[in-house]
Symmetry: C2
Subunit: 158 residues, 2 copies
DNA sequence: TTAAATGCAAAGCTTTTGCAATACT
DNA sequence: AGTATTGCAAAAGCTTTGCATTTAA
């Protein structure tokens, strides 16, 4: 029997560690990259490229979105960063090890439920049994209707 | 105990039926709409708005993409059409009742696995148990890595 | 007749690309 | 010095919108 294995992935705990990590991979550490890394460490939640640009600009730095996209992709190739998509809407990036979980998105109220990866193990198993597919909810999370909305309960935030 | 109910949805078997269906809803039946409907009926697989425009142009008709998007959306509001997204890439549209199934998309080989909706009932149940979410794989299908094809499962490639 | 639907053009949003200038190593 | 990385500008891909014109009912 095969058990869904959770890839531990890269895990760096600080900007300094991330910098050495990148250097060890032969990558250069530029000012924009340094700034991106500290902003990612400071971010409390996954963030879009545009959002990252905004935070950087707000903190006085000015990094072009093109560079942000290129760097996020470069970071992702090393395993330092990952991104996923919530329904429509831009890709959301976060540091691996900083936020390793999986997401469920409510199409109705736009709530995002965050769960640890092993919580969906049974679902993955059921999907494998039904289809042979190894579902990955890390890049394209589960989209559906949250319990509250399914029960007809409405909430809103001001 | 709540059992996942499969919404049977609208089911029209021909262009003529679709036309009456639309008229019954107070919608007008224009030449472009007629052409879109017959192209959708002729389509063997879900198709993008752009793809629909291509087929129409190839058959001598010339319907603007803007009208195609507007009409697909109008059709969808009546329940006649649905659309979903395969990873990145454009929305793919199909007639409800003509293609009611759910899709699993392989991020690696881009194969699309088509299964009947009830096949994923156990997976939906596991997800509900783990999160309270009613997963809907109809708008944003499962993305993962394909295994081998199970019995009675069709596949197509885009 | 009149409201709905169309075509055209333009723009929106996210992301990518080309290229000359810059800066890391 | 040499090349990875940057900024800028432009474009690509998908979709939406405004508006004047056409057309279904």
């Amino acid at each position: 029997m095969t058990v869904a294995q959770h890839d531990p992935g890269v895990s760096v705990g600080s900007v300094e560690e991330a910098i050495s990590f990148l250097r060890a991979r032969g990558m250069r550490v530029s000012v924009p990259r340094r700034l991106m890394l500290s902003t990612l460490f400071a971010a409390e939640a996954p963030i879009s490229a545009e959002g990252l640009a905004g935070l950087l600009k707000a903190s006085g730095a000015d990094v072009d979105v093109a560079s942000i996209y290129r760097n996020l992709e470069a970071f992702e190739r090393t395993g330092l960063v990952r991104h996923f998509h919530l329904g429509h809407g831009p890709g959301l990036y976060s540091l691996v090890g900083h936020d390793d979980r999986e997401y469920l998105y409510c199409e109705r109220c736009h709530e995002v439920l965050v769960v640890s990866g092993d919580r969906l193990a049974a679902a993955r198993e059921a999907i494998r049994a039904a289809s042979g597919y190894e579902a990955r909810f890390t890049h394209f999370p589960i989209v559906g209707v949250c319990g509250r909305c399914a029960d007809g309960v409405t909430t809103f935030r001001l």
